[in-house]
């Protein structure tokens, strides 16, 4: 493990704590990487960068924020108006949340398209799903902290989801609130947990990377690494490519911070929380909209509800909606087994590729419906899109993956590259 360097100080450290070779083997020249990764593979490192930006800006904001129902809203306004560069740091943190979800959702769909969840990377994928859940909990609690109208009513609606649990539901809600409604105890504990959870995410990310490094990155061809000829060192090849991606991403991020800081937000959250007045149209942040659409799709007359509840006998529509919302994410944990095909990349699975894109569009439709009021055609479209979401995961993928005959896959990464070069030279 321990290595020799020209610099005697490095040698002194390395002999006692082999941290230099550890870093080099993790993100340096000692970490071999498939040589054919495309730009979709940038989003993992981008997610890591956003996590760091969120931690730094968040810790700084906590130095000025007051977690008390009487002062929270005003302390945010003070950050915006009086604290030096407070407006900048808050807008970075606010938009950073949206950026985090954009990057992670692309990262997730990348994994789905190229079959990165398949053996031997099942645990890597599952840890990723758990990171997504932790991110959602963190984002939800963070949104409550400014104590605006959407903060308060978002917290009320989401914590009330737990009241759908039979028998113990109401006790759980009281336990979450620390009172009989969302109030000061709720705000305090949400602040404590919002500060804690990002560090839990850091821990999960380390485990995620540990699992990644065991079998290395998947690649656009989805074939296994056969030998040295398929690999290039992470540094300098991918460090420079990731840096290029980060530069482009930061331009996108900073456009919103400087020119459209409230683009992703709700104007109602600039009204102080009022427990006696519900805003006419409660919407969660955009990254929760697909799940919100699934939650609301479950009404008494929804055919899927009628089937799974045996005509309403088994559970209420409210409980069914809550279960479906959680299931929509938890089902992803089982994706490695729902998909029975041995071939990873969609490049060699034309029908799976089509199903993937329909599923992607279906997710966008759910997101659109989640932001619309629950009335008229929006209800019907939301119910169809919800039914399709579950049909894709539970019916289409298990059957299609076992019937589809994939196209011939290349022998190795380098064989595919040489073949491409040869055919180009022939032209």
């Amino acid at each position: 493990m321990s290595r020799q360097f020209k610099n005697p100080i490095l040698n002194w450290v390395e002999y006692r704590l082999p941290i230099i070779s550890f870093i080099d083997d993790s993100v340096g020249s000692g970490y071999p990487t498939p040589k054919n990764l495309n730009y979709w593979w940038n989003f993992g490192s981008l997610a890591g960068i956003v996590l760091v930006i969120m931690l730094v800006s968040g810790i700084v904001l906590a130095m000025h924020y007051t977690a008390n129902v009487d002062y929270a809203f005003n302390s945010i306004e003070r950050i915006m108006r009086d604290v030096n560069y407070g407006w900048l740091i808050r807008y970075i943190h606010m938009n950073g949340g949206s950026m985090f979800f954009i990057v992670v959702y692309i990262h997730l769909f990348r994994g789905m398209y190229y079959g990165s969840y398949k053996a031997p990377r099942e645990l890597l994928w599952m840890i990723g799903v758990i990171i997504l859940l932790a991110m959602m909990a963190t984002a939800f609690m963070g949104y409550v902290l400014p104590w605006g109208q959407m903060s308060f009513w978002g917290a009320t609606v989401i914590t009330n989801l737990f009241s759908a649990i039979p028998i113990v539901g109401d006790s759980i809600v009281t336990l979450l609130w620390g009172g009989f409604s969302v109030d000061n105890p709720t705000l305090n504990r949400f602040f404590a947990l919002h500060y804690l959870l990002p560090f839990v995410i850091v821990g999960l990310v380390i485990i995620h990377l540990w699992a990644l490094h065991e079998h290395k990155s998947n690649n656009p061809l989805g074939v296994d690494i056969k030998g040295e000829q398929d690999l290039i060192p992470f540094h300098p090849y991918y460090t420079i490519k990731d840096l290029y991606g980060i530069s482009a991403f930061l331009m996108f991020f900073m456009f919103f911070v400087f020119f459209a800081p409230n683009f992703f937000g709700e104007p109602d959250n600039y009204i102080p929380a009022d427990p006696m007045v519900t805003p006419p149209h409660i919407v969660p942040e955009w990254y929760f909209l697909p799940y919100y659409a699934i939650l609301r799709a479950f009404t008494g007359d929804f055919i899927v509800y009628q089937v799974i509840s045996l005509g309403g006998l088994l559970m209420s529509a409210k409980l069914a909606g809550v279960l479906a919302m959680f299931a929509s994410i938890l089902l992803l944990l089982f994706l490695p087994w729902l998909d029975g095909s041995k071939v990873r990349s969609s490049k060699f699975r034309p029908y799976y590729a089509m199903a993937f894109w329909v599923f992607f569009i279906d997710s966008l439709v759910l997101g659109y419906i989640g932001g619309k009021p629950a009335e008229g055609a929006f209800i019907v479209i939301g119910q169809i899109a919800t039914a399709y979401y579950f049909a894709h995961l539970l019916v289409i993928i298990p059957i299609l993956s076992r019937l589809e005959r994939p196209k011939p896959i290349p022998e190795s990464i380098s064989a595919a590259v040489t073949a491409a070069h040869a055919s180009k030279a022939a032209e």
Partner: protein
């Protein structure tokens, strides 16, 4: 040598069951102890004594006129107090046997005095506050309350008639201190 081995074997059987008992009882004591140690860390999240102390609210009914509603705060939640008109009471009683009651309940069971309808003003779906307290607000298709969040309609007895909410608006415990004063909680 063989003698001592057999002697050990004999005691070994006893020792084994005795040790098993010690293992199981130690583990059981440890598990109970851990459970007792964890409980304070869970229970601290439940309402504190000062939160519980705010659990009753007194309302003076004198200024409320017939057909008028007021909203009072009880445990941080809105409570609707409505002085119902004779027509509303008649309508609520007439619809006791309506077929579209999602959570069937007689109007008489929901009030102590027919003219005073007192209930927690929180939609039983996901906790929004239904509209219908002010004359200018929509009252829904059944002339009671309408929740704008997900479209639940409540009738003049606060019963759920249409929409995703599973239950009627909750009736808090309350008692009349006099004809013009009520204590909620």
């Amino acid at each position: 040598m063989s003698d001592s081995a057999s002697a050990e074997d004999n005691t070994g059987v006893d020792e084994k069951s005795r040790r098993d008992f010690l293992y199981v009882s130690t583990a059981a004591v440890g598990a109970v102890g851990a459970g007792i140690a964890v409980w304070p860390f869970i229970h601290q999240m439940n309402p504190a004594a000062d939160t519980l102390a705010l659990s009753t609210t007194e309302v003076n009914l004198e200024p409320i006129e017939e057909g008028q509603s007021i909203t009072v705060v009880w445990r941080g939640k809105p409570v609707f107090v409505r002085y119902r008109t004779a027509e509303e009471i008649a309508l609520a009683a007439k619809e006791d046997s309506a077929g579209d009651l999602i959570d069937p309940e007689k109007d008489a069971a929901r009030v102590q005095k027919a003219q005073w309808l007192i209930m927690v003003g929180i939609c039983t779906h996901l906790g929004c506050i239904p509209l219908g307290q002010k004359a200018s607000e929509p009252k829904g298709e059944y002339g009671g309350w309408f929740c704008p969040c997900h479209g639940s309609h409540y009738d003049t007895s606060g019963r759920i008639r249409k929409g995703p909410a599973p239950k009627n608006l909750v009736i808090p415990t309350y008692s009349f201190l006099s004809d013009t004063s009520v204590k909620i909680g």
